[in-house]
Structure formats: structure tokens, C-alpha cells
């Protein structure tokens, strides 16, 4: 029987069981991952559209529709997880 994961603020996730090294990543994807830069202050926020729940409705939110206002964008690990 698998051991019980500790319950914290990040969800317990699963994964494959077996050999550690599996598929060799392609040369291009490996260097693309290393080159990914940190997000920059003073630079435009990446625009996005995302599904949303707002005051009883399912809708979609696009960041650029809020230009002209100050926006606070908060990410968090998961619903129902304590903090």
C-alpha cells in the first residue's frame, strides 16, 4: 500500500513509478527551458484570457480588457487548501 502523503497547501500529485530517467528531451526544448527568463517589472504583463467564476456566473476574463485600471493578479495553490 502506498504511503499517505502529508496534507499541506500544495495538492499531493501523482506521477509515474519506475526508472528515474525516461525520455531524452529534444535539444531544442531543453535549451528553450533553460532560457526562459524571469518575469520583469517595468515590462508589460503577459495578456491572457481565462475561464472564471464571478458572482454566480461562469464567464471569461481577458487581462487587456482591464487596461485603464490598476489590477492585482493573485495566484494561489488551490481551493480548499487552508491558507
Amino acid at each position: 500500500m502506498a504511503e499517505k502523503p502529508k496534507v499541506g497547501c500544495a495538492r499531493p500529485t501523482g506521477g509515474l513509478v519506475g526508472q528515474a530517467e525516461t525520455v531524452q528531451p529534444k535539444e531544442e526544448t531543453q535549451s528553450a527551458k533553460e532560457v526562459r527568463k524571469m518575469i520583469q517589472v517595468g515590462k508589460p504583463a503577459p495578456d491572457f484570457v481565462a475561464p472564471a467564476y464571478c458572482k454566480g456566473e461562469f464567464t471569461a476574463v481577458k487581462l487587456s480588457e482591464h487596461l485603464g485600471k490598476w489590477v492585482v493578479l493573485c495566484f494561489y495553490p488551490g481551493d480548499f487548501t487552508f491558507v
Binding site: 500544495a10 520583469q40 504583463a45 493573485c74 494561489y76 495553490p77
Partner: protein
């Protein structure tokens, strides 16, 4: 924004958050299944499959002015986020002529950067002004 679906957002709002806040959450709860948006903002934890606790302040031109990232167990401080927004709003209103020193809160002294102030900040601002 979290990786949870809009359905889980609705349930969390209806079952728990609306007990903490009258009327429930008054702003959109966004869904980022797969973490694509979180990845673009540099805060998606691929191994855990969840977003880290990142908070971004974006100005009316869509420019990121500040961000803060915490690991999951530690919560944010709302008053600090509000303080930062007020500071950025002051700077923007002054068209960049004013800056807010360390420990600034609304009503406290601001600085006016320029050649005259170089090496003379000590004349207008002291370390004990950092705290209340």
C-alpha cells in the same frame, strides 16, 4: 487564479468563502488548468502541478510594477499590497517627480529625486522614519 476549474471555484465560494465574506467573493476567480498563464508569469510549479503564491500589481498601462512570490504555506499581507498600490499611484500622479522612501505610508514624507538631493537624503529623511 489557481489551477482549479470554475466548478471548484463556485463550490469553494458557495461553501466556504461566502461564510467569510458577505455575498461571497466580489471579483472573478480565474481558472488556469495546466498552468499556462502561471508559466508565462513564472510562478507555476510544474512538479507540484499548482501555482505558487504569486501576486502581481499591474498599472493602468498594463505594466507590471511589482510582484511578490511565496511558497504555499505562508499567506500574503493585504495591507502591504494596498500600501504598494498607493505608492505606485502616488508616483504615477507625480509623473515620476516623487518617490516613496523605505517604510512609506500614505501621509508620510516623499522624496523628490534630482541632482540637488544627491548625497543629501540624510538631511530630509532619517532611519527612524522607516517605522511608524
Amino acid at each position: 487564479m489557481s489551477v482549479d476549474s470554475v466548478f471548484v471555484h463556485k463550490m469553494w465560494n458557495d461553501k466556504e468563502l461566502s461564510k467569510m465574506v458577505e455575498g461571497g467573493v466580489p471579483f472573478p476567480m480565474l481558472s488556469d488548468g495546466g498552468g499556462k498563464v502561471g508559466t508565462a508569469y513564472g510562478i507555476y510549479d510544474e512538479d507540484a502541478g499548482v501555482e505558487n503564491r504569486g501576486r502581481f500589481i499591474i498599472d493602468p498601462e498594463g505594466i507590471i510594477q511589482a510582484y511578490e512570490v511565496l511558497t504555499p504555506p505562508v499567506g500574503r499581507h493585504v495591507a502591504e499590497s494596498l500600501r504598494q498600490i498607493q505608492a505606485f499611484q502616488l508616483v504615477r500622479e507625480s509623473k515620476g517627480t516623487e518617490a516613496t522612501p523605505s517604510g512609506w505610508k500614505p501621509g508620510k514624507l516623499t522624496l523628490k529625486p534630482g541632482p540637488d538631493l544627491v548625497g543629501r537624503v540624510w538631511e530630509v529623511w532619517s532611519v527612524d522614519m522607516e517605522s511608524d
